[in-house]
């Protein structure tokens, strides 16, 4: 059952994601991703020139060439930003969407890599989103590499991770050093807590870390009004959570 806390968390995470979408001309959200979808529409409310597409939502799907078009669009360099989830993320930015343990006899099996094998390589600003911020999710080294965080010189690699947004913090990804750097800790959480919950080493500036911004009142009006309405088709339960119905 949805609670007030769930609602606040959803509004907050949508705003945190929208913050890292800032300034991109084109943005796409995969299927089955309610919070990123809300965040994308919020980013578009903030910047009306942003072209947003949400897979699985006919009203926000501008593609007419079948299921392969998004990947063509990304491979051509036309897609500036995409959100990817993962079973495991490691400190080098590698993503695992497949399994834990031995690949042939896994202890945990996830659905699979979806489009990550191309999108993570070609979309300049990939935002990795995993609400569960725990050593189980954020690991030293992923058990299976669906897509690598960086590539050696000479490999065509215009894309890759730019941000990691979790339930506790926001990280930037430093491609040169192939590691995450803490950008902000969410309100109500501490740096110590983030360190304890993160299974990989990350860079961190000295002193008290920045606090992730809360959604503005305008953001909340958008999210609980027109954005919730827009999501009613694809995500009815989530839309009702946002409006508080």
């Amino acid at each position: 059952m949805a609670t007030l806390a769930d609602r606040q968390t959803s509004l907050f995470l949508a705003s945190a994601l929208a913050d890292v979408f800032r300034g991109v001309p084109t943005l796409a959200i995969g299927a089955n991703s309610p919070i990123p979808a809300a965040a994308a529409l919020l980013a578009q409310h903030r910047e009306p020139s942003m072209r947003v597409s949400i897979l699985g939502s006919p009203a926000h799907n501008p593609y007419t060439n079948g299921g392969g078009e998004l990947f063509d669009y990304a491979a051509e360099g036309r897609l500036a930003c995409f959100v990817l989830g993962a079973l495991q993320i490691d400190g080098a930015g590698n993503l695992n969407l497949v399994s834990v343990g031995d690949y042939d006899q896994p202890t945990v099996r996830y659905p699979g890599s979806f489009g990550s094998g191309l999108l993570y390589y070609t979309v300049p600003r990939v935002v990795v989103f995993r609400e569960d911020h725990s050593p189980r999710a954020l690991v030293e080294r992923v058990d299976f590499v669906s897509a690598t965080g960086t590539s050696p010189p000479g490999v065509y690699r215009p894309g890759g991770p730019a941000y990691l947004v979790t339930g506790k913090a926001v990280f930037r990804f430093d491609r040169e050093h192939a590691q995450f750097a803490l950008q902000s800790v969410h309100p109500g959480h501490t740096l110590d807590e983030v360190m304890a919950a993160t299974g990989f080493h990350f860079a961190c500036a000295d002193g008290v870390p920045a606090v992730t911004a809360l959604p503005s009142e305008q953001d909340c009006r958008w999210l609980t009004g027109p954005i919730a309405d827009a999501l009613l088709g694809g995500y009815p339960e989530f839309a009702r959570l946002l409006t508080g119905d």
Binding site: A31, T64, G67, F71, R109, S146
Partner: protein
């Protein structure tokens, strides 16, 4: 010219051990034909999810119809993991060829175009690539500098099976926005289609509909199957039956629960 045939005759064209390509759960899945296939007891399928699968793969796997699965993902979307798929992977009951969505599309496009492979960006350094000896890295022969790139071999399925809103008497099939179904039909040796309705007009003669029609040239057989995607959605026709899917996701957590649910579903 393809015939309009009864559903059992349609699935009768799919033989044990064949490769069978199917769309994703939102792309027009012929659940009617899936039921008929399971009833018939098809075996040893090489199932290809284009580019993913869900309920359909889970049912076929749970019913013991699948030896080899090739897909970018298998899940029940908002209803969680696909339990029979997950169980079969962990027990080693099926062989898995993990892919990534654009690689599945690339393989089908190669088959559609009659070429042995398509290049694709990405994948370099991944375990996806390491586990796919059929995917090969070459140095881009057209680049001045070293430029490794992956080649995906053509995917030419023995059979493609999907469900669409409508066909005409000549076997032309309107797929609307699901253009990947057209690529699949072009790529396959046989294309079998179930439809909601069969119309008496010529779909190719309708300037509005024709651009989204799979011509009968590529269609081997059509069967009428109203509500043929149920409990999945058919875009523009009906939504998914979420209650049914939720019940499935819960029941199929155990092998016995799956069998009971399947008995009810097969009717």
């Amino acid at each position: 010219m393809p015939e309009s045939v009864p559903l059992d005759a349609l699935v009768g064209r799919i033989r044990d051990g064949q490769s069978l390509a199917v769309p994703s759960d939102v792309g027009g899945v012929s659940m009617a034909a899936t039921r008929a296939l399971i009833r018939r007891g098809v075996r040893r399928l090489h199932l290809i999810g284009v580019p993913t699968s869900g309920l359909q793969a889970d049912l076929l796997i749970g019913a013991g119809c699948v030896d080899l699965l090739e897909a970018s993902a298998v899940s029940l979307a908002e209803h969680g993991v696909a339990p029979r798929f997950t169980d079969a992977i962990r027990s080693g009951a099926i062989q898995m060829r993990d892919a990534t969505c654009p690689a599945v599309h690339a393989g089908l496009v190669a088959a559609e175009k009659g070429v042995p492979f398509m290049p694709i960006r990405g994948l370099i350094g991944s375990d996806l690539l390491r586990h796919r000896p059929d995917w090969q890295v070459i140095d881009n022969p057209l680049a001045a500098e070293p430029d490794p790139i992956v080649l995906i071999p053509a995917i030419r399925p023995d059979t493609v099976l999907f469900h669409a809103p409508l066909a005409d008497r000549a076997g032309n099939v309107w797929v609307g926005m699901r253009r990947e179904l057209m690529v699949m039909a072009h790529a396959a040796r046989e294309t079998l289609v179930t439809v909601e309705r069969i119309v008496d007009t010529d779909l190719l003669a309708d300037p509005q509909r024709a651009p989204a029609v799979v011509p009968s040239l590529y269609v081997s057989a059509v069967a009428l199957a109203p509500k043929g995607a149920w409990p999945l959605a058919l875009h523009g026709e009906y939504a998914a039956d979420d209650e049914c899917l939720r019940a499935y996701a819960k029941a199929a957590r155990s092998a016995q629960g799956f069998r009971d649910w399947l008995d009810g579903y097969l009717g």
